[in-house]
Amino acid sequence: MIEIKNLTYTYEQGTGYEAHALNGVSTRIPDGQFIGLIGHTGSGKSTLIQHLNGLMKATTGDILVDGTSIYSEHYDMRKLRSTVGLVFQYPEHQLFETTVLKDVMFGPKNLGLSDDAAKERARKALELTGLSGERFENASPFDLSGGQKRRAAIAGVLAMEPKVLILDEPTAGLDPRGRDEILSLIRDLHERRKMTVILVSHSMEDVAQYVERIIVIDSGKIRFDGTPREVFRHYRELEALGLAAPQVTYLMHDLADAGFTVDTDAITVDEARDSILKSLPQFRRTV
């Protein structure tokens, strides 16, 4: 469990340019939860996730990982970075080795593992991301397709065997199939490996489809925190924050305005279909 207590991060403190990137953020992230973190560019969400694995240090406030403050003396930062794995935007830009296997082994070797142990972890991580077998292991990372490169980069983080996986816009720039592949991979890691996942995304449709809890950040503060259905109920306020609701939410509201008895909290295509069928007397039984 991660506990964030009244976290503040101030840029250029004491100068005329002083600005709060985080302004009193408090929340708990229980083990095994799948969270969507949304907010417009510059809202503070990237700053927040960089605090969670110790890349940035809070100006005030505290972060407890499994009960221990990461700011306490002698805290093992290296261990924190393997416990909380962070996948940056466009992670494939960080691929550099001559083969995919070597690239994925880089992290575990840095943790001090032997070649054999690192190789075993890398193979496991590649299998999770659907890139197993010699064909991929020995390929140059630069010969992979866009979606495969991204999965190889995610494998590099998984090889550290983190308990918490944070991904910063992992689907940006991918085509719809590549996007679905990455998102179902993430869902798998959450469901089968019980990993805690924090997904930073600009796609409201993806967040609605996959996560169980949404945290909305604006001006360095948490503005909404709840299930996707609860949060997207505030779609007008979300728009004012530079965000939106999934397209089906707008459809359901239009239908309600036209006199249909539909569930205006529906946020996925399947939920919308079922709710619409129920509202049409002649099709009710097909649900």
Binding site: D175, R177, H202, Q247, V248, L251
Partner: protein, 299 residues
């Protein structure tokens, strides 16, 4: 006359290994034929690796064909004597706005393009004013680009192109890195440029909802042009789109799912308004196809 005409356009290149031997021969574009009408708003869809970015780079001669011909406003892009004129005619905007910003404030950023074209100073400032107004960023002319949001930066990148007064702007996934608000801003700006200033817009995107309001749409797959038509025609074929690693807008998908469950809806429903009207007709015993048709004509 079309502003862009690709005639049997092919582009291939060779990958070489460390010793300089040919390791692989790649056909990125294979015999593409298409015309884009001046003043239209068109979108190009395709999976990663389908050739759409390679195609975009042909339009301002960043790449020239290895087979066939591309004409931009009647000029053959392979003719080097036209290079500057081709680039003045078709401006390009890329995915990451941060890679496109060079100046210390917004107005200098926008002035950079026309200055490079050798435009007279008075005319440069007229163009900067015009471009700022066109993208709705007047209030930010003295601001440093690094203080802007992603959507604002991308609008400045667009303004930098607008200041060169091109007839045509080609945008390669300009919204891929933006938040929903930024995406709305950029797409609205593009439609305004198209409607008020009659600039031809060629938009490459993975966001299907950005395609809905376009005049025409091209779909590429493995270097070939495989579909073309109005967004309604393209999105009527949900299964083909999925086979091509693409998608349809969420509202279209809901309509398709309802059709599969037996609700008598027409193909190619694109907007919430259309689906609401069609379902109202189904409920009240009217004609759903006529209801959608009515919506479309009202626009």
């Amino acid at each position: 006359m079309p502003i862009v005409s690709a005639q049997n356009l092919s582009f291939s290149y060779e990958l070489r290994d460390e010793e300089g031997n040919v390791a692989e021969h790649i056909d990125a574009l294979k015999g593409v034929n298409l015309d884009i009408l001046a003043g239209s708003f068109v979108t190009i869809l395709g999976a990663n690796g389908s050739g759409k970015s390679t195609f975009a780079k042909q339009l301002n001669a960043l790449l020239v064909p290895t087979g066939g011909t591309v004409f931009v406003d009647g000029m053959n892009t392979a003719d080097e004597s036209h290079l500057l004129d081709v680039r003045k005619t078709a401006g390009m905007v890329f995915q990451n706005p941060d890679n496109q910003m060079i100046a210390s404030n917004v107005e200098e950023e926008i002035a950079f393009g026309p200055e490079n074209l050798g435009v007279e100073p008075d005319d440069i400032w007229r163009r900067v004013d015009m471009a700022l107004a066109a993208v709705g960023m007047n209030a930010y002319r003295k601001t440093s680009p690094n203080k802007l949001s992603g959507g604002q930066k991308q609008r400045i990148a667009i303004a930098g192109i607008v200041a060169m007064e091109p007839k045509c702007i080609v945008l390669d996934e300009p919204t891929a890195m933006l938040d929903p608000g930024g995406r709305r801003e950029v797409i609205r700006t593009l439609h305004e440029l198209n409607e008020k200033r009659h600039v031809t817009i060629i938009l490459i995107t993975h966001y299907m909802e950005e395609v809905v309001d376009a005049d025409y749409c091209f779909v590429m797959h493995q270097g070939e042009l495989v579909m073309s038509g109005t967004p309604r025609e393209i999105f009527s074929d949900v299964e083909t789109m999925r086979r091509l690693s693409l998608d349809v807008p969420q509202v279209t998908e809901v309509a398709y799912e309802l059709q599969q469950a037996g609700v008598p809806l027409p193909d190619g429903i694109l907007t919430s308004e259309e689906l609401t009207k069609a379902l109202t007709a189904v409920r009240d015993g009217g004609d759903p196809a006529a209801a959608v048709e009515g919506c479309r004509r009202a626009k």
